[in-house]
């Protein structure tokens, strides 16, 4: 199988942003016994770009990152950074900063010493080192924690120090291996935004691996959805959500209804309404239409052909589950202030909005 390349967006190429470099993974393959962790993965990252790899457990996203870091060797394929082939370069000479999923601060060192470690190895003069450490701790807003050990800091603070440590060496590429997954929800959102702010500030090319779609969509310039060792789709967060290329992407990213429809060329008929189809859709005959909950409008109608099962208040929005007369369950997103007007058993009319959707063969 020849590797397929996803074009790098124009705005990411050329002069680049900050001091980032381009990263290219070409046809990477890696097997662990009978399991193919990477199956011809090809990925281009533009200088200064923030790319997130998203996918279920075992899809190969962490393996891809570890191969790029040099912590794991690919069976075949090529890794290029800044135009140089670094496939055989050892980890210690790759000039990459990495933040791990597990807390990785050296327990016998303070935050300051942790950040200083990489600089000492590079024989940076001590005055410059001190300056750089202060700069980095300031960047992650932990200057007042400089003399604390890992066990005296919260998980979020430890990960921020780990980020400062990774950035202190001014790496060519920043690698983030699910750095937020061990944190609680509130800290995760805070640190996620902080990572994006810092990345935009320093402009380092960044590869972020996560299984949390909200995280990936919130911070990345482009998100790659991985499945079985390869990229299923690499696109901007908006395109990935609004224009999924495959049923897997549509299912994996966000909530999706799978409803029976009839495809007729560039549109499909769903619940008696015409819905435009995305490229790559099944074009003729019975199909399953993958349609987002927010693309379905709900109106109370005693003569409607669907019945409310539940209506839930979710804070900023509301969600309604209904069953059609043909027995299909539909999830629709509704305003939070109208949730209270729907009760289980109410008859409603469901009308798809004219947002493009993906249609797949009914057998998929």
């Amino acid at each position: 199988m020849s590797p397929t390349r996803t074009p790098v967006p124009d705005q990411m190429t050329g002069t680049g942003r900050g001091r980032g470099v381009a990263v290219t993974l070409s046809d990477l393959r890696r097997s662990y016994g009978p399991i193919r962790a990477l199956d011809g993965l090809t990925l281009d990252i533009a200088p200064g770009e923030f790319v997130a790899l998203l996918g279920p457990s075992g899809c190969g996203k962490t393996t891809a990152l570890r191969v790029l870091a040099g912590l794991d060797d690919a069976d075949s394929g090529r890794v290029e950074v800044g135009g140089k082939d670094i496939t055989s370069v050892p980890t210690s000479a790759r000039d990459m900063g990495m933040v791990f999923q597990a807390y990785s601060l050296f327990p016998h060192m303070t935050a300051r010493q942790n950040v200083e470690f990489g600089l000492q190895l590079r024989r940076i003069p001590s005055a410059r080192r001190r300056e750089r450490v202060a700069e980095m701790l300031d960047l992650v807003e932990l200057s007042d924690h400089a003399d604390r050990y890992a066990h005296q800091m919260s998980g979020g603070q430890q990960q921020r120090v780990a980020l400062a440590r990774a950035l202190a060496i001014e790496p060519q590429v920043l690698l983030l291996d699910e750095p937020l997954s061990a944190l609680d929800a509130k800290v995760r959102v805070q640190l996620r935004d902080e990572i994006r702010r810092i990345q935009l500030e320093v402009g380092t090319t960044t590869l972020f691996v996560t299984h949390d779609q909200e995280e990936a969509l919130a911070v990345a310039d482009r998100v790659g959805v991985m499945r079985a060792g390869n990229l299923e789709q690499l696109a901007s967060p908006h395109d990935l959500y609004a224009r999924p290329a495959t049923a897997f992407v549509a299912d994996f990213v966000g909530l999706t209804n799978r409803l029976h429809a009839i495809a007729e060329g560039d549109h499909a008929i769903l619940l008696g309404t015409s819905v435009p189809l995305l490229p790559g859709s099944t074009q003729h005959g019975p199909a399953l239409l993958l349609i987002r909950p927010e693309s379905i409008e709900v109106t109370a109608d005693p003569t409607g052909r669907a019945t409310v099962i539940t209506a839930s208040f979710l804070g900023s929005t509301g969600r309604l589950h209904a069953v059609t007369d043909s027995g299909e369950t539909v999830v629709a997103q509704i305003d939070n202030d109208t949730v209270a007007t729907f009760y289980p058993g109410d008859k409603v009319t469901l009308v798809p909005r004219p947002n493009p959707a993906l249609a797949v063969a009914a057998s998929e």
Binding site: L71, D95, F106, H108
Partner: protein, 272 residues
């Protein structure tokens, strides 16, 4: 309240009884040794034996085997601990990082000496030592190679507990990603975090080497225990005094080692 009080008093009494019995078990032989070494000919007490033991010129001239034994045991202790640490710490770290599948095998090999009696070990090692003597000479220091085998099970257990308490893989990979080579990873990241385990392993090795008699005796090599045994045939009182003195010395050395570990731990927590 009174029921709890009675139970507490009973438990305290039981604890003290256990401590007393154990204390007696250890103290009785020591008291007997002190009593034996202070007996004067014709009755009464004298410290002549102890005075002789600490008169180094007399020991040097009249009891050279004791001096040789002390020096040999000191050298063996240092050499055994060094070989054991240099061999075991990187191997165990490497196995955890790169070859987790062989961890059980390594553990089995390291624990194997526990099941092999010293005499069997000597029979097995005799041909090897014939070559060692041929190539490296007759020095008693080469006994350290056999002692490393003896201390393996204890050192392995101590180091394994230390390495198990830290995330070796993540720490090593973090350091590597920051530009550290393997020697730097070992020296600056792994070792400082398993210092207590390393001290424990060294502690157990020192205790074992200082008390070893069988292998040295069967190989006709010098060490402290062999020297004391020989001395016992000439002057039993001096031999017992020497045994007691070196037992106290070993106790002090081990105590000092444990203090080094705990003082570093506490100074770090005070700093923090």
């Amino acid at each position: 309240m009174s029921l709890h009080g009675t139970r507490r008093r009973r438990q305290a009494g039981f604890r003290w009884a256990v401590v007393g019995v154990i204390g007696l078990f250890f103290a009785l032989p020591i008291v007997a040794m002190v009593e034996f070494t202070t007996r004067a000919p014709g009755g009464g007490r004298t410290l002549d034996t102890w005075a002789t033991l600490f008169n180094f010129s007399v020991i040097d001239a009249d009891y050279p085997e004791l001096q040789h034994g002390v020096l040999a045991s000191a050298g063996l202790t240092l050499l055994t601990v060094t070989i054991m640490l240099v061999m075991l710490v990187p191997t165990m770290t490497w196995v955890r990082l790169r070859l987790p599948g062989v961890r059980r095998l390594v553990e089995f090999i390291c624990l194997l000496p526990l099941t092999i009696p010293a005499i069997v070990l000597v029979v097995g090692l005799a041909p090897v030592y014939a070559w060692v003597a041929y190539f490296l000479g007759e020095s008693s220091l080469w006994l350290a190679l056999a002692y490393v085998i003896l201390v393996l099970p204890y050192a392995y257990r101590a180091l394994d507990a230390g390495l198990g308490a830290i995330d070796v893989k993540t720490l090593a990979e973090s350091a590597r990603s920051l530009g550290a080579g393997w020697p730097t990873v070992m020296w600056r990241i792994i070792l400082p975090n398993v210092r207590t385990a390393v001290l424990s392993a060294a502690f157990l090795s020192v205790a074992l080497v200082l008390g070893e008699f069988t292998i040295a005796s069967l190989f006709s090599r010098d060490n402290l225990q062999v020297a004391i045994n020989l001395l016992g045939k000439r002057d039993s009182s001096l031999a017992i005094a020497a045994a007691l003195a070196f037992m106290i010395l070993a106790f002090v050395v081990l105590l000092a080692m444990s203090f080094v570990g705990s003082s570093r731990r506490s100074s770090r927590s005070e700093e923090s």
